[in-house]
């Protein structure tokens, strides 16, 4: 008996989020091709939350971790992981969200600390996150995440929970990959020790093989998005990312869903149908996406301007296949993935060059008409690269929009202000 129950305060947010997502699942309808595109990924989150709740109550192991910390390993260990950052992403459907943001701002010295990080710190301090068996800390790509894990480790309720953070090198070269592969091996030792769950190499191989398939499918799907009109808009990119790197990493159920999505996209391309009925502008949204954006801003862009998000930071899939021949090759591959390929970490962790090369590649391959860098207030490193991005776009002859917004707090730059900015931008560029 753990003495834990459904009524524990730390489960409140998770239950709230689960119920919101559960309600959404009920409302999904099938597309014209007969596929329910959103059901699988959203339902997966509901199931995931239920599993974390169950494990918390029963005392079975689960961890806190992230999409960029080699989730293939967790799948292979049958170890569910919870990211305490998700409430910020689904905040748009949470009634208490603004109050929580304000309270988190009072807690830290100011409101300029990344909203996701601030909220995450606040949830931990307010006992609104179920304490896991162990924490895999993410200490890159930004200062904020490094900070929040330190705050977490100091919290009275969390300071006895074992923490492991893999040390991230700044470079993308063999030396760095080798170094980081060794860090990942250390992470496995840590997890085995603290969760009591073994990692079987052949199971890891199976998972990585499946994950390789998912990467191939993701890329195939992205290839279809090059079509004009673009069959699927920005929201789908996030879901594809979610399947491949969070809820169904290396799991056949995710692979099957991806095949369905591809079938849907293929059919739309064949019919010449786009996500936006009269596609006029193809956007590259170069940052994270929140539910608020996909529910409010993107539909407006589509309706008002015929603008489709043809590519987004989290939908982009510059992955390589992991060589599964030996244990070392698998860890090396996972290191490359974690340092160099997963979205956001890829661009934000090291030197700014990948911001620029990604823009170049995506603008050309996805026939992008304009690059939008939202200038999320949490992404200080990205904003520090904004001028270079603008120059790159100028060189490519493609308009660049820097907004300066909070992707989560819609009071920072309101929806109306965003609409106004976009309208002025499109008009001044003679688009739409």
């Amino acid at each position: 008996m753990t003495g834990r129950s459904m009524n524990d305060k730390c489960l409140q947010k998770l239950v709230q989020e689960r119920d919101m997502l559960g309600m959404m699942v009920e409302t999904f309808t099938k597309t014209s091709t007969g596929i329910d595109l959103h059901y699988v990924p959203t339902k997966a989150f509901v199931d995931h939350h239920n599993e974390i709740i169950r494990r918390y109550i029963s005392g079975e192991p689960f961890i806190t971790s992230y999409f960029c910390c080699a989730p293939e390993i967790y799948t292979a260990m049958d170890l569910p992981w919870n990211t305490f950052l998700t409430p910020a992403f689904t905040g748009a459907i949470t009634p208490t969200f603004h109050d929580e943001i304000d309270a988190s701002g009072k807690m830290f010295t100011g409101m300029d600390l990344c909203t996701i990080i601030r909220l995450a710190g606040y949830y931990v301090e307010e006992d609104l996150v179920p304490p896991p068996t162990a924490v895999i800390a993410m200490i890159h790509p930004c200062d904020g995440i490094n900070v929040v894990h330190q705050v977490m480790a100091k919290n009275e309720k969390w300071n006895k929970i074992p923490v492991f953070g893999a040390d991230p090198p700044y470079w993308e070269d063999e030396r760095s990959y080798e170094y980081y592969a060794d860090e990942l091996k250390k992470m496995v030792e840590f997890l085995q020790k603290h969760t009591g769950l073994p990692l079987d190499t052949s199971r890891l191989r199976e998972v990585i093989k499946e994950s390789n398939k998912q990467i191939t499918l993701w890329q195939e799907w992205n290839d279809l998005r090059r079509a004009v009109p673009c069959p699927h808009g920005g929201g789908m990119g996030l879901e594809m990312f979610g399947e491949a790197t969070t809820v169904h990493t290396g799991m056949p159920v995710g692979t099957a869903w991806m095949k369905d999505v591809i079938a849907d996209a293929e059919s739309l391309v064949r019919q010449g149908k786009g996500a936006v009925p009269k596609e006029r502008i193809r956007l590259f949204w170069f940052d994270i996406l929140s539910l608020g954006l996909t529910l409010e801003l993107f539909p407006w862009l589509e309706q008002e301007w015929g603008a489709v998000v043809a590519m987004e930071m989290f939908g982009y899939s510059p992955y390589t296949q992991i060589d599964t021949s030996t244990e070392d090759s698998m860890f090396r591959g996972l290191a490359v993935r974690a340092l160099h390929e997963v979205p956001m970490i890829r661009q934000a962790r090291g030197v700014a060059d990948l911001f620029l090369t990604d823009i170049e590649r995506i603008v050309k391959d996805w026939k992008i008409d304009c690059v939008v860098y939202p200038g999320y207030m949490g992404h200080k490193d990205g904003s520090g690269s904004a001028g270079l991005m603008r120059e790159k776009c100028r060189e490519l002859g493609v308009p660049f929009l820097y907004i300066g917004m909070d992707l989560f707090d819609d009071r920072y730059t309101t929806l109306d202000e965003l609409k106004d900015k976009f309208s002025k931008f499109f008009t001044s560029m003679g688009m739409g």
Binding site: G110, D143, G144, N146, V147, D381, S383, G384, S385, L388
Partner: protein
């Protein structure tokens, strides 16, 4: 009334803190000497010295605007970085032969990306500083030091021998030892030097040819012996902060009646509270260990909060501190977390603490700071 002992050395240090190219550095450059810039106190000054250059910590002293930098950075970037980069773009740092960066924070690391493309410094070098502090990271950092050493050798056409490195370590340890002696004097009830002047000395230690600086600081220490210039202050304060390179900011606090007697700052004690091992067989090993494991850590190092907190608590005891002022540069995430955690510990230990945000240029936030410091000191109560 706080005054200053009559000292040529101190005057020179104050001048060095108020300028970028101080007379001593100017002379060095005129004689053909080279200067290498760096941005954070984790940068291995010793390797730069061993390469025959003067290590110079980049500041934005005297900057008044960021108009050129604004084309590249944005208003959510730390104002120190914006001003420093602006000075780079203006050509104020054209006297640098090379600059080294580390991935110390999200703002500074992007200065590297912009600087290497936009400012014509002959050599712009980036180093990958670990975030953990185990022996594995010492090994990694040693490799990074060796890469820097090689880059400098290639760029300057020289050989940096172990002997040169050892000599450089000695010189920099001497700087550290002398700076610690200066801090020792501040433990007294009536220290012979104010916090503002001490900051000027520390800044000068990052801007002058080091051997010359060491000589001058030794002179100053002699001159300070027996002096008592800070009698009528009300409280003994400690500053905890990232970059603070403006003695005038400290003077504002001291003019309100608080004497700054110590700090945990990266233009301060964290630069020199420990020494590099001079006896180690391999000087690069010694340097790697110093920067990763020995030097008082900054919040960007993961998992070291307890140690950092202890460092502050020890200072409070040793320097009989009445209250702590924690300063954070607006938009600095690292220090937002640090000050939050620290406040908890200080409150538990019943140590009065005031946390304030600041901008690099004093004009922006000083009015409010004055009011808050005044109120803070009143809240400490029980004047000495």
């Amino acid at each position: 009334m706080k005054t200053r002992v009559k000292s040529k050395a101190l005057e020179a240090f104050v001048e060095a803190a108020e300028t970028i190219v101080n007379p001593q550095l100017k002379k060095w450059i005129e004689q053909g000497g080279k200067v290498m810039g760096y941005f954070c106190c984790y940068a291995p000054e010793e390797v730069i010295t061993a390469a025959g250059m003067v290590p110079f910590r980049v500041r934005a002293t005297g900057s008044t605007s960021t108009e050129l930098a604004d084309a590249y950075l944005t208003n959510i970037n730390c104002s120190f970085c914006r001003h420093a980069f602006n000075m780079g773009l203006r050509g104020d740092y054209d006297f640098l032969e090379a600059v080294v960066w580390l991935n110390n924070c999200d703002h500074i690391r992007r200065i590297y990306d912009n600087w290497r493309r936009k400012v014509g410094t002959p050599l712009a070098h980036m180093m990958s500083l670990p975030k953990l502090t185990t022996d594995k990271q010492v090994g990694w950092w040693r490799e990074e030091l060796a890469i820097l050493k090689e880059a400098l050798e290639k760029h300057l056409g020289i050989t940096i021998t172990n002997e040169k490195l050892r000599r450089a370590i000695k010189t920099h340890n001497e700087t550290r030892r002398l700076l610690r002696q200066l801090y020792e004097l501040r433990r007294k009830d009536n220290p012979p030097i104010t916090g503002a002047d001490t900051l000027a000395v520390v800044i000068a230690s990052t801007a002058m040819p080091r051997e010359q600086f060491n000589k001058m600081l030794a002179e100053l220490l002699d001159e300070l012996k027996g002096a008592e210039v800070t009698k009528d202050y009300k409280y003994r304060l400690m500053l905890v902060s990232s970059i603070l390179d403006d003695p005038k900011y400290v003077k504002v606090i001291e003019d309100l009646g608080g004497l700054v007697v110590t700090d945990s700052m990266c233009f301060g004690s964290r630069m020199f509270w420990a020494d590099v091992d001079e006896k180690a067989k391999d000087p690069l090993d010694a340097l790697a260990r110093y920067y990763i494991q020995v030097k008082p850590a900054c919040p960007r190092m993961f998992g070291g909060f307890l140690q950092r907190s202890k460092f502050v608590m020890d200072m409070v005891k040793e320097f009989k501190v009445d209250g702590i002022i924690g300063l954070r540069m607006v938009f600095c995430d690292l220090w937002a977390g640090e000050l939050f955690m620290q406040e908890k510990d200080l409150q538990t230990a019943s140590i009065p603490v005031l946390h304030m945000d600041r901008e690099y240029l004093m004009a922006g936030t000083i009015g409010q700071a004055r009011t808050r410091v005044q109120a803070f000191m009143e809240s400490i109560g029980g004047e000495r």
